[in-house]
């Protein structure tokens, strides 16, 4: 499987957190569907050239959060619990918005300016026709 988002790490943040985020985003984008097998620890560690123990730590956390589950001897799978996936979407969306607002408030933009900028951007870039699920 290709998890393109993984390719670039920000080494100033814990790597295991970035593995967790990348898996969550892959689930939200539908690249990983409920019941899908996620890459094995070894596969992912090799693909990303990172410590397998770091991947293992991320997988344990995903399982603890109920986003994945383990089938003995078969590997890790995406939860089939639709509510979990819905709340995951919510969680990621909130995080994106929070980071976005934080970034903008650090350059002293008010809400009106921000909304205006978004509208302008969407219009110019032709994003208005893009699907938002």
């Amino acid at each position: 499987m290709t998890l393109i988002q993984f390719k670039k790490f920000d080494e100033s943040r814990p790597i295991y957190l970035q593995v967790i985020e990348a898996i969550k985003k892959a689930i939200i984008r539908g690249e990983l569907k409920p019941g899908d097998k996620i890459p094995s620890v070894r596969e992912l560690a090799q693909e990303l050239r990172i410590n397998p123990n770091t991947v293992q730590k991320a997988y344990q956390e995903l399982e603890r959060e109920g986003i994945t589950f383990t089938r003995r001897g078969q590997g890790n799978f995406v939860t089939e619990d639709q509510d979990k996936i819905t709340s995951l979407k919510q969680e990621i969306l909130e995080k994106i918005v929070r980071d976005f607002i934080d970034e903008l408030s650090s350059v002293n933009l008010n809400l009106e300016d921000i909304m205006e900028k978004i509208k302008e951007y969407m219009k110019n870039e032709g994003h208005s026709n893009r699907k938002f699920r």
């Binding site: 080494e11 100033s12 943040r13 814990p14 295991y16 990172i50 410590n51 397998p52 123990n53």
Partner: protein, 231 residues
């Protein structure tokens, strides 16, 4: 379980203390990065762990035992020095090592030779530095050791060979019962592999911690933290 325990370790050469008063331990199954500039004591420390140098003072335990013939059986050490005989063929060196070590695994050797694209028929003098670096890694990783000590596996090697060596390390590392210590001054390339790091300066530990925890608490990469300490 603790794979290695070191207490108040010191090593003196003449009047110079290459390693002064080191104390730390490594749990089994971890990859530890030892980072420091040249002359910080990295090689001396690894040689002591490999049983090639005797400590001047302090204690070293490998699975509870002093470094000796017995610990050498479970420790695979890769020297920083280019020690390969130029007239030998790559394959002959691998065969020689195979006959020497009880824990040599021919399957791992074949896999590594294949993966690292090592030409066994070539003489060492015909190999590039990068290729010699790949061969040294293949020699160290073809053993089924419990502890791997890799001294500067990336140093003086071209970019593509460095990438290939890092890939081989991730591929071959089995975790759990395998412990790896990698010394390097090329922190940027190696840091994604480290679970724990130690910064060594003039024979002393100036920083030690879990790599992701350091990133979390300082908001910086290990490379950036390294530069703060050494520039």
């Amino acid at each position: 379980m603790k794979a290695i325990v070191i207490e108040n370790l010191g090593k003196r050469f003449g009047t110079l203390w290459a390693v002064r008063d080191l104390s730390f331990h490594i749990d089994e199954g971890k990859i530890l990065g030892i980072c420091g500039p040249n002359g910080s004591g990295k090689s001396t420390l690894l040689k002591i762990l490999a049983g090639l140098l005797r400590p001047t003072r302090g204690m070293v335990k490998i699975y509870g035992k002093n470094p000796s013939k017995h610990t050498k059986r479970v420790v695979s050490y890769m020297s920083e020095i280019d020690y390969l005989y130029p007239w030998m063929k790559a394959g002959e060196i691998l065969d020689f090592a195979a006959s020497f070590y009880e824990d040599w695994d021919e399957r791992k050797r074949k896999d590594l030779v294949n993966f690292l694209k090592i030409e066994e028929d070539k003489k060492i003098r015909e190999l590039s530095r990068g290729m010699r670096g790949r061969l040294k890694i293949a020699l160290a990783l073809s053993r089924r050791a419990k502890i791997y000590l890799l001294d500067e596996p990336l140093s003086g090697i071209d970019l593509s060979s460095r990438a290939k060596i890092l890939d081989a390390l991730v591929r071959e590392y089995r975790g759990q019962e395998e412990t790896m210590i990698i010394s390097t001054h090329l922190v940027r390339e190696a840091e994604p592999l480290f679970e724990e790091v130690i910064f060594l300066k003039e024979g002393e530990i100036i920083l030690r911690g879990d790599a992701d925890e350091l990133r979390e608490t300082r908001g910086k990469s290990i490379t950036e933290i390294f530069l703060e300490y050494f520039i």
